[in-house]
């Protein structure tokens, strides 16, 4: 579905992404892990074509990413960004409907209303539909934005979903719900790429994990293959212990003694 072929992105002489290659198939959930400044967000921008790589190519659905027109692209991939502040107060309903903008010209059709309703049910924000976005809590706002992004590709089963730290600012219950939702979407056939900070979340929900450091790939593979003390030390510069846990394939990661 998405093929990243040896991409490099640099500003001046600083290489933010260096010779990175991977591919993600439909129905797969790829988690991207890395320390702050490792290039996760840059990679996300490259994938959604906000910026273009200096070298290498990105293919989406067998076609070069740069060949898509913007409206075409909007129906093939949706993006949940980290920064979502709005100074003009919209009602939640209207905001989620904006996700349908690439699909209608001026007025939404009955199908668009139906999708908005379904999406809001799926993310559990139906009760907020008439509220002013700016009066919601941070976690509620995040779920509204997620609904909007989801509405954009809800009826496009061969689309991609990019989530940039979707669990930010959510409490434990909603973190879990958002990740379960991401997992469900992947199982439905979407290709989901998700930047995460929590290694245990990544190994629990993802099919594949990509670990980044200084724009290069440290490890790429199934959670079982890549989650080990060496990779984690290499990526985050921390010492951890692994703990086997009943019912899980992959060991849990817990911090070891604090470095001095």
């Amino acid at each position: 579905m998405i093929q990243v072929k040896n991409i490099t992105y640099q500003i001046g002489k600083k290489e933010l992404i260096k010779e990175l290659s991977f591919d993600v198939k439909s129905g797969e959930l790829l988690a991207v892990l890395g320390a702050n400044g490792a290039g996760k967000s840059t990679l996300m921008k490259l994938l959604c074509r906000e910026i273009s790589p200096n070298y290498g190519d990105i293919m989406l659905g067998g076609q070069y990413l740069k060949k898509y027109s913007l409206p075409e692209l909007a129906r093939r991939r949706a993006v949940l960004s980290q920064q979502n502040t709005i100074s003009i107060s919209f009602i939640v309903n209207e905001l989620v409907m904006m996700g349908r903008y690439p699909h209608f010209e001026h007025q939404p059709g009955p199908k668009d209303y139906e999708i908005v309703r379904q999406v809001m049910e799926e993310t559990g924000i139906t009760h907020l539909s008439a509220r002013d976005y700016n009066t919601l809590s941070g976690g509620e706002q995040q779920r509204v934005q997620l609904s909007r992004v989801l509405a954009q590709i809800y009826d496009c089963p061969d689309a991609c979903l990019f989530l940039d730290e979707p669990t930010n600012g959510l409490d434990l219950l909603y973190q879990q719900q958002v990740m379960e939702l991401a997992r469900r979407l992947a199982d439905r056939g979407y290709c989901v790429i998700c930047i995460l900070h929590d290694i245990n979340f990544a190994s629990r929900f993802a099919d594949k994990i990509l670990m980044l450091k200084n724009g290069r790939s440290v490890a790429l593979g199934t959670p079982l293959e890549v989650i080990n003390c060496e990779n984690i030390h290499e990526t985050f510069n921390i010492n951890v212990k692994l703990m086997a846990c009943e019912g899980y394939n992959c060991p849990l990661v817990i911090p070891a003694t604090i470095q001095t």
Binding site: E50, L70, P71, A78, T85, I88, I91, E94, Y101, Q152
Partner: protein
């Protein structure tokens, strides 16, 4: 509903004034002039006043109000800031500077041009000033094809104080005859209305008023952020350019004809957003209609309240607009507390 309000305001405004015209008389004149009926239920003097003085002025008010309202809505959407206004990013100030420049240098330079250009000199200068300032502000704030909203606002503020500084300097240099012209013009007035000014203004207002509502969806998406709008398939760079050009067109032309009329662009979209919805598909066209109605009504008051003299409409919009605006802010704040 807003359209009905506008119609009512237009009819009332056409009828009120030094020469009184009743509503049936008004309808009769219109019917007669458009050839619908042959009856003459009015005096010729009334018809002359209506057709040559009052109607052009009302139409001018409608056009300018619509232009200021819609460009206010567009600019607020573009800047993602409900407080943005054409005046804020320096469009009005640039226009004022150029107009005042023309008034002060008039004797030395513009009388030589004479004729038609001499007559339109102030208007043309104001329009040029608006275009030039927008261009400068836009260039200052655009890097790598991306418009930084904060820089844009800051450049607007800088241009504003620079332009107003020069206006102050020119006012200081101005002769006694020029001073009232400068003051009156910078306070705003629809006094120069004629069918000529109306037809000159018409395209500059109609183009934005017709096109901008079609961009309402994109304006909504821009509210979410540049990146988010881009992810939704909108060519953000082009869209911003188009909106800036259209908004400047309307504001520049309005300032050129009527001077600086504040608050319409700020307050009208606000009222709509607070009473109905923030959806630009309603706010953008609605601002044009409500702006037209409000400015026409304000002008009616401006030319009758101290009759036979006339109050500059800019003073009136500020005097009435500010308390209304403050009232809205306070009620909105109380509503959000609950």
């Amino acid at each position: 509903m807003l359209l009905i309000l506008l119609l009512v305001v237009v009819v009332i405004s056409s009828c009120v004034g030094a020469v009184a015209i009743t509503v049936p008389e008004f309808l009769s004149i219109i019917a007669n002039k458009t050839g619908i009926s042959q009856t003459m239920g009015f005096k010729p003097q009334q018809a002359a006043v209506l057709m040559n003085i009052r109607l052009p002025r009302v139409v001018l008010g409608v056009l300018i109000g619509a232009g200021l309202g819609i460009s206010g809505a567009a600019i607020q959407g573009l800047f993602r800031n409900p407080l943005a206004e054409p005046g804020l990013i320096g469009i009005s100030a640039g226009a004022t500077l150029c107009a005042v420049l023309v008034i002060v240098l008039e004797v030395g330079f513009f009388t030589k041009l004479g004729g038609v250009i001499g007559f339109y000199a102030i208007s043309l200068a104001a329009f040029t000033g608006a275009c030039v300032t927008t261009f400068i502000v836009y260039r200052m704030s655009t890097r790598h094809g991306k418009t930084e909203i904060t820089t844009l606002l800051l450049s607007g503020i800088a241009i504003n104080s620079l332009a107003l500084g020069f206006v102050g300097l020119l006012t200081y240099m101005a002769t006694n005859e020029q001073l009232p012209v400068i003051t009156f013009w910078s306070l705003g007035s629809l006094g120069g209305a004629s069918w000529e000014t109306v037809s000159g203004l018409l395209p500059f207002i109609m183009i934005p008023v017709v096109i901008l509502p079609f961009l309402a969806k994109s304006l909504n998406a821009l509210t979410l952020g540049d990146a988010q709008a881009f992810h939704m398939g909108i060519n953000v760079v082009n869209m911003k350019r188009i909106i800036i050009v259209l908004a400047t067109m309307a504001v520049g032309a309005s300032v050129a004809v009527a001077g600086v009329i504040g608050f319409i662009g700020l307050i009208i979209p606000h009222i709509l957003r607070m009473t109905f919805t923030a959806d630009n598909r309603l706010v953008v066209p609605g601002s044009a209609i409500l702006g037209a109605a409000l400015l026409t009504a304000a002008d009616m008051v401006a030319r009758t309240i101290v009759a036979p003299a006339e109050l500059p409409i800019g003073i009136l919009t500020a005097l009435i607009g500010t308390p209304v605006f403050m009232y809205i802010i306070v009620t909105e704040r109380n509503k959000n507390k609950l």
